[in-house]
Amino acid sequence: MIHARGLARTFRKKKQEVHAVAGVDLDVEAGEIVGFLGPNGAGKTTTLRMLTTLLAPTAGTATVAGCDLVTDPVGVRRRIGYVSQSGATYPDARAGEEVVDHARLYGISTAEATARGKQLFRELDLDGLWERQPKSMSGGQRRRLDIAVGLVHVPGLVFLDEPTTGLDPQARANLWQHIRGLREERGTTVFLTTHYLDEADALCDRILVIDAGRIVAEGTPDELKSQVGGDVLTVTVEHAETAGRVAALMAALPGAEVPQVLDTRVVGRAPQGGAALMTLVRELDAAGIAVAGIESRRPSLDDVFLDLTGRSLRESGGPAGPGGPAGADRTADKQPQEMAR
């Protein structure tokens, strides 16, 4: 469905070259749900905009849905759907009209477009909202309307840019259900970007991790997690001064990495977390160290990300994060708003 080699995009800003995407190779097969994971500013949206013909690559080649990106952009456009981050509908229009108008631009008759639109409204739980104005719909409904717009011409491949950003947890879970449905009921290949690890984990067959304009890892969520050396052990001690001794014990576990000490918390990794935990508990008890908490868990995609890039993905997205990379290139379509403020 998608085969890209060395796809790159360089922006020139104030005489400085910004390599938003610095040579991306990727392959997506028909019927897959592939997640493009990375922090804000990593180049996700720029890559997506190249693959959807909105932005010309400055280097590299790609075939999307069987058509060459550079020589046959119209062929690509005819075969793909794109649901951008900023939406696809005008707040004052009517929901149904937006779907029909969009379909008309693909040469679909009004009658056919109306039938398909109503079918999509049923599938996406938008029944009864045909005449509604997007501005009076909920965030989740609007997002599903955007998806209906992006699917009305029945593309075999659909690009979703940050589909659940800004939605509440319930609406997110609901949207995931619908995204899975695209593949199961329509056989649609889905390529989505996200900076939510749980989303990539729950939804995607395969994940491509992008950071600073390059793909730094790819695989199924399980493959990626198993790349991280072992399970994550966390011990929280009562008194910070004993943390050093805990770290020493942890480091002595078979196959363990040198643990990190964060005040009263000691975090390390060891293969077979359960067995390691048992050993550790016995040794802590023997040493008479007062422990407030102890756990072993399977590595998360966040651990994968931390491993690959040296920083946590949560830093860049989470409200409590220490800032993180200040989205240097962010999404091009968000810039005007930011500049306008």
Binding site: V74, Y82, R183
Partner: protein, 268 residues
């Protein structure tokens, strides 16, 4: 395409190929529908020229002998029509910025629709709106004392339509470049006032001192206004009339070229 499972409706990829005319109509119909649904803007943009006619026009009546014209409205209405054509059209970019922000422009650009159609459909809506407004304006002026040959009025409206198309294209191109009202509004304001004052829309530039006339001679819109006045005087053969029309055609081509170029470019 998709080889997996059975997709319920047949893929649209084999549908008819994109045609500029059909896409233009789709974009036009959509834009027109939006305008009609929210007519406040149309009314506001028409109110201003009507206020000029009703509240400023009478001031010219005692001066008409001095201005060398049959009656004041024969001189004033063409100017106000040109004003409507330019300034009504220049502001259409604001609507495009709102659409851009809502993601509509992007979502239209990923369709196979012709880029030209995305511009042309919108410009056609603007021209239709302009022609309706212009006609209303002429009708409102008749009871106030406008007397002008029908052919002259129609010719003027054609010129105004072309002028409006040119300025609407430019406005869309600028809006798509700036993408922010905060940048677009000051730019328009910076352009509008000097152009207005140097075009002789309110009073003919023949009243101006030499140096001011010289500056206004460089402004093509002054010649458009004078051309329109000649049409209203029934003076179809004069060089003034056709200079105005010719310059309008030139501006139309230039504006169209600029607009299409911007719409064809990738959005960055």
């Amino acid at each position: 395409m998709s080889t997996a499972t059975t997709a319920p409706p047949s893929p649209a990829t084999t549908g008819p190929t994109s045609s500029v005319a059909r896409d233009t109509y789709t974009v036009f119909a959509r834009a027109m529908r939006m305008s009609l649904r929210n007519p406040a803007w149309l009314v506001i943009s028409l109110m201003q020229p009507i206020l000029y006619i009703v509240l400023f026009g009478p001031l010219l009546e005692p001066l008409s002998s001095q201005l060398g014209s049959g009656n004041a409205y024969q001189l004033f209405v063409p100017g106000i029509l040109v004003q409507l054509g330019i300034f009504g059209a220049l502001f259409v970019g604001f609507g495009l910025i709102a659409e851009y922000r809502a993601g509509v422009i992007e979502s239209q650009r990923v369709t196979p629709a012709s880029r030209t159609a995305l511009l042309l459909g919108r410009v056609m809506r603007d021209v239709v709106v302009l022609l309706v407004q212009g006609t209303l304006l002429v009708l409102v002026s008749i009871p106030l004392g406008l007397r002008a040959p029908v052919i002259g009025v129609v010719l003027t409206l054609v010129v105004i339509a072309l002028l409006g198309a040119a300025f609407a294209s430019v406005s869309y191109a600028l809006a798509l470049t700036l993408k922010s009202e905060d940048a677009f509004a000051p730019l328009l304001n910076a352009v509008v006032l000097p152009v207005l004052l140097l075009s002789g829309i309110l009073l003919p530039m023949t009243l101006a001192p030499g140096w001011l006339q010289a500056i206004s001679d460089v402004n093509p819109l002054k010649h458009v206004v004078e051309g329109a006045r000649s049409f209203f005087d029934g003076d179809y053969g004069s060089s003034t009339a056709w200079w105005g029309a010719g310059l309008t055609v030139a501006m139309g081509l230039l504006g169209w070229w600029f607009g299409v170029r911007r719409f064809r470019q990738e959005s960055s």
